[in-house]
């Protein structure tokens, strides 16, 4: 009798510990997802224009799942300590629903990250950057977003195009329709700027003299934050789910051992 009593006590202790970890991870997940949704790098307009912003949807789900995990962990701790079958049953069912939502968030973030290829951003940049004739309000909104984001990207990260300035030469673009090739082989934001924001030497920039134009592509500046975002949501959520899985199995075992 004493031995099984001890066993139950150990199980209780482990479950309380497990739930404490789940609660803390829930708070961390909420904080991380709020950080991503706040878009510190200003790249959301690019995703919005691709009409494929599911990694943001995954982060939004993550915010609510984090809160739910925190609340349910408190419920779980109370239920385990009081050995109350009803509380634990409610806990199990709500945790299962939360588990399902977090699964959806992780899988969405992981699979949709794969769609954000360099070609996707290249095509979008060529078709939308400085496009002068827009079809409707939505088109205009997306075009303005893409143009502002690219201008900011090129100036802040000292880069040009997705792979390099030759993107502007290899393909025709909406930019090319408004800005002729002789004066603008690539946008002037690709030129090395002085302190006042104008090109140091515009003729050298147009000729492509090394040192007067930005020769690297901006893809690294785009994919870096997006990778952090997607993998942060997907892998951290995955870790939480693995831990939660073990805690839930333990809780079910404990629940079946409680007597009326």
């Amino acid at each position: 009798m004493a031995k099984s009593d001890d066993g139950i006590r150990i199980l209780q202790g482990l479950l309380v510990f497990g739930n404490v970890i789940i609660g803390m991870c829930g708070i961390a997940l909420t904080a991380e997802c709020i950080f991503f949704v706040s878009d510190p790098h200003g790249l959301y307009p690019l995703l919005e224009a691709t009409e494929n912003d599911d990694i943001y949807a995954a982060a939004w789900i993550g915010i609510f799942v984090g809160f739910a995990l925190f609340a349910l962990s408190i419920l779980g701790i109370i239920g385990v300590i009081k050995a109350n079958r009803t509380l634990l049953l409610v806990y199990l069912i709500l945790m299962l629903i939360t588990f399902a939502f977090e699964m959806a968030s992780c899988i969405t973030a992981a699979t949709h990250r794969d769609f954000l290829t360099p070609n996707l951003f290249l095509k979008q940049m060529l078709e939308r950057y400085k496009k002068s004739e827009t079809d409707n309000n939505n088109d205009k909104w997306m075009t303005e977003g893409v143009t502002k984001t690219w201008d900011k990207l090129m100036l802040q990260n000292h880069c040009c195009g997705v792979r390099g300035p030759s993107d502007w030469q290899e393909y025709t673009s909406a930019f090319r329709l408004t800005y002729n090739d002789a004066d603008f082989p690539w946008p002037h934001n690709c030129c090395v700027m002085d302190a006042r924001g104008s090109p140091v030497n515009l003729d050298a920039c147009k000729l492509g003299v090394p040192g007067y134009y930005n020769s690297n592509g901006c893809y690294d500046a785009i994919s870096g934050p997006m990778n952090t975002h997607a993998w942060g949501v997907a892998w951290f959520g995955f870790a939480i789910l693995c831990w939660t899985f073990c805690v839930l199995l333990g809780t079910m075992f404990y629940w079946s051992r409680i007597e009326y």
Partner: protein, 255 residues
């Protein structure tokens, strides 16, 4: 009859150095012909650049005077024009300035009909051939050889770009498969536990007693005690009072 212009062995070429903009869709760059003309060009002479379509270069005839120089607007009809009129001093051996000449870089002058030579953008990818021509007061004095054909860039349409990724990364496959497995196991476990519980409660309701959860109550039958065999030599006068040991008979009273 004026003497034919001297043929210099210099061949104009696109600069071999790394200049990203040396060939664009409507412009191209040329190496500066420094220290090429030497004694053939005086300080008062002008050095022109002749630009012609590669298939029209053989038919080009040097203009006899400055007034006959074909302008930029004549390129579509004649297949050639002359531009970049520069003083000979700019190409002297000691001159130091920009690394290359840019043909087609002036977008302001085209179509205005002005008399000055226009270095307008080229209308088609070409190919083109160029040569330098030294024009003095009396006509052409010297010329370089024709360059190799220069082909400009042709841009493709962005609709040829395929944004779809080739295959899913390993991250996505691992996460999706492991999570699907965990979810399935969890759902099965919950169903199993809840199912056993429901089934158990149904059985309890059938038997009618819900107070005892999982134990069956076994009744113990206590049989009534049987009479014990009387030990020999004992006389039990009222039964049940226990056994009285026999007393020796009292001596008979004397008569």
């Amino acid at each position: 009859l004026p003497a034919p212009p001297a043929l210099l062995p210099y061949v104009p070429r696109v600069p071999p150095t790394a200049l990203l903009g040396k060939l664009t869709a409507t412009t191209f760059a040329l190496e500066r012909p420094c220290c090429v003309f030497g004694r053939h060009a005086n300080a008062s002479d002008a050095i022109w650049l002749v630009v012609a379509f590669a298939n029209a270069s053989a038919a080009f005839r040097n203009p006899p005077s400055r007034a006959d120089v074909p302008r930029y607007e004549r390129l579509p009809t004649d297949g050639s024009y002359m531009t970049l009129e520069t003083a000979a001093a700019a190409y002297a051996c000691s001159a130091t300035s920009s690394p290359a000449l840019r043909v087609g870089g002036d977008t302001v002058c085209r179509g205005q009909g002005c008399r000055d030579p226009c270095n307008g953008p080229l209308p088609s990818p070409g190919p083109y051939r160029v040569k330098f021509l030294v024009m003095g007061c009396h006509g052409p004095k010297a010329e370089t050889r024709w360059s190799d054909p220069i082909l400009l860039r042709r841009a493709a349409s962005p609709s040829t770009i395929d944004p779809v990724p080739a295959h899913h990364s390993s991250h996505a496959v691992v996460i999706a498969s492991v999570l699907a497995g965990l979810g399935a196991v969890l759902a099965a476990a919950v169903l199993g536990v809840v199912g056993t519980e429901v089934w158990g409660s149904l059985c309890r309701q059938d038997s009618g007693s819900s107070a005892f959860a999982r134990r069956s109550y076994r009744t113990h039958h206590i049989p009534p005690a049987l009479p014990q065999p009387v030990p020999p030599g004992c006389r039990c006068s009222p039964p049940g009072l226990g056994c009285v040991p026999p007393r020796p008979p009292a001596p008979c009273p004397a008569q």
